[in-house]
Symmetry: C2
Subunit: 335 residues, 2 copies
DNA sequence: CTGAAAGCGCTTACAG
DNA sequence: CTGAAAGCGCTTACAG
């Protein structure tokens, strides 16, 4: 059996209250007593039971993050930021994979409520009405990351999708492109996408350009396969495109793959622009020009907002919107 | 305040013991009583406190996994398998990012011990002596994933690196290549790598080929950058190479990037082969031929071994070694 | 079929 | 500076 605080107390010849004191605050304890306790801890290899402590403190020192999928680089990058922020404040993070499924998501929320996690990050999915209701009665602080929420009172962390898409499209136009295709993912799902759609249109309007409906394609997801299929379709139906703007880097790589399959070279025959700036953007050939979303920092921020609230440093509220930047690499050609 | 079992008991007009019974086993409870309790649960929106339950059961129903890095696809893929296995048995998983650092790893282990997680997966790092000692006195079941352990009694899940590298090199030789460069990562760190080195040599020996020392390069890590730098070096120093075998897919993409920078085309002028078969292998141009390691399945297995042990289904022991396969795509040319 | 009571391993007023 | 005691929210023999 693992030694308990009682074992330590007995061995050190003090009460459990005293042991508890030296292990925590450490104040109001005599030097000798403290030494004796520490020695007993050492000898018994005692490790305080955080479960018991949590029961008292009503704090588990754990955060949870929900992703539709955990194995892509989007999730990984966000998770990196969350983990760092959490760990630096002594918290750990539980990762949940919802698969985008309604019931699995709800079941997870229930589980996390029972585990009494101190905060939840809802990442990259729409916060549907059904979730919002459930969350409302949960009393666990929550922030939505990248993906608007249906309730303005629920705090979010995201980038300004409208303006990011505007900047991206403007960049392409600035490079001399006038026939630009747009591939955007999960339109039924993510309100953020409609922001991107708007930005794309606005950029055209402001530059006196029209956008052909046939050059805009809405996809199911944001993955490579979607990009391949969508890219091929766009190339087939979109007329004489000189550039394609994809709303994720994976999508963009899929487009590049579709282009090559058609005998088109990037950027010589077709320029391609992505969104996110995941590590893969740099690894592709040619390296991908893309709209950078500071995912790591956004993960950090989401966690920090939660932690500041949990630790009574700052009220949990508002919407953090991060700036995006265009990172020029080699997949876009100046016309 | 969150309602407790007492509130439910009071409302249903029964004892807390009864509430507990209907919420768990559910046996030995009269129909009416059960209905009353369930209704009270409903009305109060009661969620059992898993922390309190854990204190009794001495089980937290959580697994932890340690990665040097959480944002790459290697970790993501493994994590996907772990999460699925865990979730299907009602467990959650805590993700820890060690950064490969000695003290951070030890600190994490201590934290996990205090949190009383039910099992630990140590992923993709050598299990150093120091860790092994610490783990020995931890009494938490642990399995090492992909990365040998210094102690044969600690269970592992991995693939046969020697034989995988043998197969990979043999494949290249079978395609007519005789001047093959090898790029392998983290030699000082991971024993698995020396297995890969051996396999590479054996394949040459068995085919009557010699391997020039200048064609073998040992790198710090497994990342894209390492591959770029190492690939460039190999191309400079390695003489007339027709192929490069990299010990990770990211490394292979780095090599491709270095090759293009030198004006070499893949696979026309240089064949490149990777290791892992991460999603990126499919996304690259040309798609990467690689040695597939079933990372998702390995993650599942590691979690399942732990779970089977925790739930007293099966003793925790042994070494699960997974078969690798060669997946042919388009980065290797037949000479 | 159900309840009173003890206990899981800690922490925290309250005395002293 | 230190200890006895109560309590965090459950579960589990033990009676009945």
């Amino acid at each position: 059996m693992e030694p308990t605080i009682k074992d330590v107390a007995r061995r050190a010849g003090v009460s459990t209250a005293t042991v508890s004191r030296v292990l925590n605050g450490g104040h109001w304890v005599a030097g000798e007593t403290r030494t004796a306790v520490l020695q007993a801890v050492q000898e018994l290899n005692y490790k305080p039971n955080a479960v018991a402590r949590s029961l008292m403190s009503a704090q588990t020192k754990t955060l949870a993050i929900l992703f539709p999928n955990v194995s892509d680089m989007f999730s990984g990058t966000v998770l990196g930021g969350v983990e760092d922020a959490a760990h630096s404040r002594g918290f750990s993070v539980i990762v949940c994979k919802t698969g985008g499924g309604h019931e699995r998501t709800l079941a997870y929320l229930q589980l996390l409520a029972e585990k009494r996690v101190d905060g939840i990050i809802f990442a990259s999915e729409v916060l549907r009405e059904a979730y919002a209701d459930f969350i409302g009665q949960l009393r666990i602080p929550l922030v939505v990351l990248s993906g608007e929420s249906v309730r303005p009172e629920i705090p979010t962390v995201r980038c300004d999708d409208r303006q990011a898409a505007y900047a991206g499209a403007s960049y392409l136009i600035g490079q001399g492109h006038e026939n630009i295709g747009l591939l955007y993912g999960g339109a039924h799902e993510t309100p953020e996408q409609s922001g991107r759609l708007e930005g794309f249109h606005e950029a055209h309007r402001d530059h006196g350009l029209a956008v052909e409906p046939s050059r805009v394609l809405c996809l199911e997801g944001f993955a490579f396969k979607d990009g391949q299929v969508g890219g091929a379709a766009l190339l087939r139906q979109g007329g004489p495109l000189t550039a394609i703007f994809a709303s994720s880097d994976e999508l963009a790589l899929g487009v590049m793959s579709a282009a090559y399959a058609r005998g088109l070279r990037v950027p010589d025959d077709l320029s391609v622009m992505g969104f996110d700036d995941l590590p893969l953007a740099e690894m592709s050939l040619p390296p991908l020009t893309t709209v950078r979303q500071p995912l790591y920092g956004m993960g950090r921020r989401a966690a920090t907002m939660l932690l500041d609230h949990i630790q009574d440093i700052k009220k949990l509220e508002g919407h953090a919107v991060f700036p995006t930047t265009i990172v020029e690499r080699r997949s876009v050609r100046r016309l």
